[in-house]
Subunit: 547 residues, 2 copies
């Protein structure tokens, strides 16, 4: 991905450990507490339970998802304990009949007996394959439910959305996240910046995300900057920048004379004053929003005039931003003008100027721009990125798979909603060309899944759908991330996860990733898991209902 040429800072990359916001255990649903109490009351609270966290359907009519939010989940689990004030609040909240001893139990609760098995953050993931498996005392793992769902759902959704934009624009274009003002409040905006970067964006406009997560921060000015000026009388630093004062009067004429397309332009003196002042402030980071009046008749010539002056003075201007109008057409005209100036006036810096486009861009807009042809270098994306307008929620669920070693199945008339019972391992099987062939779930006590072996992969629900696969490479998907009260893997940096996402995507065939009617990627179960699941299903399903 390109290091886009927007006005860039020197924000050095720090690890995301800088974020010290601890998520409170009360950030959860009331029913978890009522269930915990009922478990405790039935003396079931310490039974060893296994829960799977997974989603049933990829978002955005796509066929892949980027898994994000793991680090936040682990930190939440690690810090999980109720403060005295929390317990006091719960004591007031729960019915008066609630036994006092339960609150004592709550105030000593911790996650020392919880184990977390998870897929690495940033990996491409698919429906039905658990992203996280939690094992631990029934009441404790139940209490973690909503917070884990909250932390994974939006993070994975927006990272996936970002990855789709990256696929749409290609690896060389710049992608800038602009979404803070349209997010679900302050922290929604922070999450958006963090996980959009993880999914493949290059930078954010959100300063706090820059500070907390070390994400590169970029941006230029807004229309208000231009309209705050009265005219050239507002340019006050003439003395310091004699070179600019000298050039000022003749510049526009000089420029106009050289450019056929720009004849008859009525450049705005207000805009020129604003650009000059901006150039005085950012002589080496000069990037202007050129559509306040008219891109072609005012913004472009004004920008070129000031840029030529900056080049005269030894600086290198950066480029322009378009925020309205026909972005394909305007970007082509702007690029042509830049190339003509570079050529006719021998100013090679003009060849390298960046064109940034914004204005309510969504994934379809990008595909349409690609189809029309355009000269945009970087895209600024806000609303559609952070709100995930096309599908604003990923429906992750948290389902009980086992209690005290006994498998649990939740039946449903909708076959897609039947849960996979018991503890499961998961593998990604790769073919000789390096592409992933299939994800396979199996039981822990099965024969190991080996590279080069002939492996039966079955559709989880449709008996007749099965195939033999001989993988060149077998990747076990789970690691134990948490045990004995400790996070027991090194947590990668945000940049490492971002690279992993692109690496993982590179192993997925293009037809699974395309925007329109992608081929579904296959998720399978082993023969033994298939039989185990279907036996349990038949055992639990009532007989005698007409299907």
């Amino acid at each position: 991905m390109s290091d886009t040429n927007l006005t860039n800072g020197n924000g050095k990359l720090e690890t995301s450990d800088d974020q010290n916001g601890v998520i409170q255990p009360l950030l959860s649903d009331y029913y978890q507490i009522t269930m915990a109490y009922a478990y405790w009351k039935s003396r079931k609270h310490a039974e060893r339970a296994v829960f799977d966290l997974y989603f049933r359907k990829n978002p955005f009519q796509g066929e892949f998802t980027i898994f994000a939010g793991l680090e936040e989940c682990l930190k939440f689990i690690h810090n999980f304990s109720y403060s005295e004030k929390d317990v006091e609040y719960l004591r007031k909240l729960l019915p008066v009949h609630t036994e006092s001893e339960f609150f004592n139990y709550l105030s000593h609760l911790n996650t020392n007996e919880v184990e977390v098995y998870a897929i690495d953050e940033g990996m491409v993931v698919f429906p039905k394959v658990p992203l996280l498996r939690l094992e631990g005392p029934l009441a404790v793992v139940q209490l973690l439910e909503t917070t884990l769902l909250t932390l994974v759902n939006y993070a994975s959704l927006v990272a996936t959305n970002a990855a789709r934009f990256r696929l749409a624009v290609g690896p060389k274009k710049g992608l800038l996240e602009f979404g803070l003002r349209r997010a679900q409040g302050p922290d929604g905006g922070l999450s958006a910046s963090r996980y959009c970067y993880m999914g493949g964006f290059d930078a954010t406009s959100n300063l706090l995300a820059g500070k907390l997560f070390g994400i590169p921060v970029k941006g230029t000015h807004a229309h208000a900057y231009v309209s705050s000026f009265n005219g050239l009388e507002d340019v006050r630093d003439k003395v310091c920048f004699d070179w600019l004062a000298d050039l000022l009067s003749g510049l526009v004429d000089w420029l106009v004379a050289g450019l056929v397309e720009l004849a008859d332009c009525e450049t705005s003196k207000v805009e020129l004053a604003a650009f000059i002042s901006y150039g005085l402030a950012f002589p080496d980071d000069f990037l202007c929003l050129i559509d306040t009046y008219s891109v072609i008749k005012s913004g472009l010539p004004n920008f070129c005039a000031v840029s030529l002056a900056l080049i005269e003075a030894g600086y290198v201007p950066l480029g322009v931003r378009l925020d309205s109008g026909d972005l394909a057409y305007l970007s082509v005209i702007v690029r042509q003008s830049f190339m003509k100036i570079a050529d006719e006036y021998n100013r090679p810096a003009f060849e390298k100027l960046t064109i940034v486009a914004s204005n309510d861009i969504n994934e379809e807009t990008v595909h349409s721009l690609n189809h029309q042809g355009h000269c945009i270098d970087s895209f600024g994306i806000g609303t559609h990125l952070v709100t995930c307008q096309k599908q604003p929620a990923l429906g992750c669920v948290y389902k009980l798979a086992e209690v005290n070693g006994k498998p649990r199945i939740k039946l449903s008339e909708d076959v897609e909603k039947v849960t996979m019972p018991g503890k499961k391992l998961a593998y990604r099987l790769y073919g000789v060309d390096g592409h992933a062939l299939v994800d396979l779930m199996a039981q822990p006590n099965e024969e190991p899944i080996l590279e080069g072996g002939k492996i039966l992969c079955r559709h989880p629900f449709q008996e007749s759908k099965r195939a033999h696969v001989t993988p060149k490479r077998v990747e076990p998907l789970y690691k134990c991330y948490y045990k004995d009260g400790k996070i027991n893997q090194r947590l990668p940096t945000l940049n490492e996860i971002r690279q992993r996402a692109q690496e993982s995507l590179s192993h997925i065939r293009m037809d699974h990733k395309r925007a329109l009617n992608p081929t579904p990627y296959k998720v399978s179960v082993s023969g033994p898991l298939y039989n185990f699941m279907h036996d349990l299903w038949l055992e639990n399903a009532p007989i005698g209902q007409l299907y």
Copy 2:
């Protein structure tokens, strides 16, 4: 609104002052800092600027919006100052040419010279009428932009969505917000709970929102609770609750015999065990999810059996939740069964049992349920409420209206995007029946708008659209909320704002509020403001472009 009968806590109401999360000034876009520097560099930073924060279009194809987020805006403005670490971060981020003195300026920045005029939080508001007007030093009010937009956008959007659900279900039904797991991360979920309550919901499932904002917290159990049981052997508290142990064996038969509809039912013993255990834990707050197996063949008889036992023991059960299937049909069957038991077994408590429905309910589902007829008392709403699926962003903007007493207008080829120049006052004019007739913007130096006077109201852009209005009551919409570094109005509690929202909505005609094709509410300008605006428009618009 009803106090819904979901398992309820005793959460005493506290003021929202308990929330001590201070929003950091870096939660803003980079371009605001670059603009601030460019203003400072041109010595324009202290010029007195006026900015309007408003939206251009009501959300959800509706014709009204609830204004929310003001308290958070005021607290943000009040606390606005850069820490040493913030300034240090910005120093690294901005280009090396940036003058050092600017960072000194930033580190001493405060909002003592900022004035904020705003509409009361919770009021019904309409497009184009500024919700907030900020006056102060150009650089300072510019730096506040993104954070204010972030705080108002989602808060107002989700409060409006909540108010629409309230209109759809009517004043007597219960509305419970369930959205935490589908929100944009932890704080997105907190904002959702707060502003859904403000917009007319009765309760949330989010414990932290309950603790921080004093919102009533409700909920029951999930499917996992039921499927964690093996069977009746799991019921362990028989000794403590002899009455239940005695009734246990014969209960289901007894019930089934009495209910024609429930003949042939194969009740799940697993579910029965779960319900008994839940009843033991919550004998006076007994509310069960009854669709784990089959509502009619298992959940309903199991619930009735345990409820009858609880009534025998002197307790009062609460009701059931339906989370799948045909909610209209099932709710009717469940209600009929309850009424029959109440009647035939002389158990009047059964007449008062609550039926709660959930399962991906959106506004259209509610209208469809109303149309079909149903017996639901309370709705649990999650995803569609908090993500605002139908329109996940409200497009608030922050536009420059005046600098140093000189009006500013931003032109656009889209007439809806032309800004209203200068400082404006706003009034709501009411008719004799108490309904709001029109919102009117006027200039501060005009003749006062008086009750009983004949007032010319003009369409802001269409010359021929104007009318004389004689209001029975004139409500000035702005108060000065912030001046001299102080919030100078008492901030109402969340409950007061929630009441204001309903009160304000009650003055809006039903045809403006209906879900389908509502009548647009009129927003007008005074004659003098109309002329002022159009003179400035002509003065600034380039001549000679073909329209």
